[in-house]
Symmetry: C2
Subunit: 318 residues, 2 copies
Amino acid sequence: MEFINPVQEHLQDVEDRMRSRFNGSASGLISILDQLICLGGKRLRPTVTLLMGKMLGADLDHLLDLAAAIEMLHTATLIHDDLVDDATLRRGEKTINATLPPVASVLAGDLVFAIAANLAAATKSVRVMEIFAETLATMVNGEITNLFDNKPGNDREMYFQWIYAKTASMFELATGAAAILSKADVEAISTARQFGREIGMAFQIVDDVLDFTGSPADIGKPVGNDLRQGVFTLPTLHYLETHPEDPDLRSVINRNGHDEESLNRLIAAINASDAVNQSMHEAERFVQSGLETLAVFPDILERQALEELTRFILSRTK
Amino acid sequence: MEFINPVQEHLQDVEDRMRSRFNGSASGLISILDQLICLGGKRLRPTVTLLMGKMLGADLDHLLDLAAAIEMLHTATLIHDDLVDDATLRRGEKTINATLPPVASVLAGDLVFAIAANLAAATKSVRVMEIFAETLATMVNGEITNLFDNKPGNDREMYFQWIYAKTASMFELATGAAAILSKADVEAISTARQFGREIGMAFQIVDDVLDFTGSPADIGKPVGNDLRQGVFTLPTLHYLETHPEDPDLRSVINRNGHDEESLNRLIAAINASDAVNQSMHEAERFVQSGLETLAVFPDILERQALEELTRFILSRTK
């Protein structure tokens, strides 16, 4: 992950800004949140934010606040999503949902949202705050649609809308807001947003593929976790198109109880089918578009790092 | 409630702005939220916002967005609070928490937060968005402290901190942000905030008194609801100071099971004691301060309405 190098020195700053906002809050819940943030993850979103902002010459102080705001927004949505999906493991660690009563997840997520909004306001940019709020609405609307209106067996178009709302919209926010802080012109801001959207789509597709192909130790969740939760991601949708009559698939669609055996057979069948490759091809297309989109920017260190990060999305195993 | 007159014509505008933000969201949950907003309530927060802004000459378009943002923020916190407190009735109607699974309350609250943030951003004021985010953090921190650190039998100082976080901070936001949009000077903004804080404190104390003295039909909740939930508000704290050895009170503090009989006796005893009067005196002190704070502003129609609203806080029965 050499693409981190140009912004490595700033990532600790970003973490410090995230954690400094908990000051003054005295509760066991806060120390749990502190650990959660310390634990981190890949810090891909702040890295993209910092690289884009530095490439375009953003004010560093505001850029650090933005990167922290975006990672906090991401963290807040994870906390509420884990509650909504009743997820017990994330990054190989127990979730707040697994260890504390539901109210703790509600309030912890709300607090992290509030801190994200504080950090976004610290950028002093009305436009950044506007797209920040719009992105939050997009994400929550996506989650509501998915949970209340979606039915298993939906088509790929709905899948793409859903992963845009869930993941790509936040990458789009990260790159677009970084460009706004750089005083880039309207066209450059639009290009930056497009790049974020493309890598976000690729990132989520690979995530959904890894849910089938990854090792549980690497991804910190059981194999086929999405399907076990009744969620049909791209590999399943491809498999559905080519194997519409697979009895195990029908059984899962019709939710004939919790038939563990047919679920396990189905996960193995999807893994062995061409559905995984087809899905990876779609991720590759988004990666290719992302690289082409980037090409309009000057060929400096940060752009090269963004290119490397874009290619990394396809090669990652966790 | 004649104090509404100077802004009556704008309240429908505010409601329209709140509801317009649901456009594009298609889900059963949205229609429930739409009803919730339609149902309304007293609209005290938008009324205060509009009166303060009009008194100080704020831009009307931005002021309407602010008033809508504040009512949405209030609504969002109610939705999550009802989930956290497992409340089933509010304003005499069933809550979302009572009718839908917990995830619906989580996501509905998140969506309303997002819309509130969108509306706050529509004011185009960085300073408004900053105090908006700070207020959200204050409110959630207050709720976390209350839920995770608080013990029954705490003192009045903690109670005042708690009602500031829960209620007065949002009135302070309403009046302060309205003043900011009016391009008032620093001193006037600070005075406006102080007024909001004072009426917010009075409002919550009266709310806590009405929880004991109000008719269930008027307030839409059973009598002594707070105490039934293990929450010690001002009347209980005053009663505790004068009757520290009341066996019913000890029983509730020690949470000897759910002893309905001693709970009902205690509620009746608090009602019959001087604790209610003592609490109302404290509310009156905040109202008096609020009126004195207002006196520095020009004696025009809107100030008179704010004075009337301030006095109304003491006389309301629901």
